[in-house]
């Protein structure tokens, strides 16, 4: 099945029906292994057991940016290629991305209190991620505010692409500004600075959360396709009712003319 075939929502629904159970099972298995490995990871020599928050915080932080990246590609699909599923993908990803961003902020805050002595600091990394969260909420509000999905899609696509400017700002904020947040320790020049005992559970959790996103995203896309199908059928039903009532009015009017 090629990408062009997937442009057909009906084929996409058939594919998700086949793939979703396998993806869900793989997510559960990887998440179980990842959590087990996280529990077994040793305490950090400085942070103690609070390092375990990293295994939940970092995957959510990665996904907060990854999901916006997926939405940006989908937005290009809407504006440039007019792919029928592009805006479905973008709309379905927004609440999931917002949830991951919320978790990144919350777990970061819970990690920051014992390590930095504060839940929150208005530094570049934390503030730029908060802006990302607010942009997710804004995008969700925009989708709800405009009734016609195709009109909402174009406005949301432009907003998403403008918001993508925030992604490199988040990534490099720790290098460009003096922040409380530590610099990159996994994806950096010269390789990861993390010990294997932390890196392996972290990567496992990151893959598990990415699979979780793919599973939830496909399921949410399926729901969005069904929602649009319901909407078009309801509009069809409403136009039939309007047409038949107009027809019966015309019929009774001609009867009255005839009687006169």
């Amino acid at each position: 099945m090629s990408l062009i075939d997937l442009a057909n929502p009906t084929r996409f629904l058939a594919l998700t029906a086949r793939v979703l159970p396998w993806l869900a099972a793989a997510t559960v298995i990887l998440l179980t292994i990842g959590l087990y490995q996280s529990a077994l990871a040793p305490d950090d020599y400085q942070q103690g057991a609070t390092v375990k928050i990293m295994f939940i915080h970092v995957p959510n932080a990665w996904l907060s940016m990854f999901v916006w990246g997926v939405m940006s590609i989908a937005s290009l699909g809407t504006l440039v290629w007019r792919h029928p599923l592009a805006d479905v993908a973008a709309k379905a990803a927004a609440p999931i991305g917002a949830s991951f961003t919320f978790l990144a902020l919350l777990t970061g805050s819970l990690w920051g209190r014992p390590m930095w002595g504060t839940y929150w600091e208005w530094d570049a990394r934390l503030t730029s991620v908060l802006i990302l969260f607010l942009m997710y909420l804004g995008l969700m509000a925009l989708w709800r505010a405009v009734d016609d999905p195709s009109r909402a899609a174009r406005a949301a696509a432009v907003l998403t692409l403008v918001g993508a400017i925030n992604l490199p700002i988040i990534k490099f904020s720790v290098d460009w500004w003096n922040t409380l947040h530590q610099p990159a320790s996994v994806m950096r020049m010269g390789g990861s600075s993390l010990d294997k005992s932390f890196l392996i559970p972290l990567l496992l959790m990151a893959i598990a959360f990415t699979l979780l996103f793919v599973t939830l995203h496909l399921a949410a896309m399926r729901n969005e396709i069904l929602r649009r199908r319901v909407r078009s059928l309801q509009m069809m039903q409403a136009s039939r009712v309007a047409f038949s009532s107009a027809g019966s009015r015309e019929g009774s009017a001609s009867n009255e003319v005839g009687a006169a």
Partner: protein
Amino acid sequence: MMSLGPYASFIVTSYAAAALVVVILIGWIVLDYRNQTRRLRELDRSGVTRRSGRSAMDAP
């Protein structure tokens, strides 16, 4: 028993919050799916079909 030290409450709250948010997300998606399929079934029963003539509930 795993020892989480003096900051156990922060660690447990982080994992519990993540679990709660993921469960809410899954629940919302499952309920939304049930809601949409129920509405499609109702439309199907009332005789409203897609232009292709297929039932609204049809896969390919």
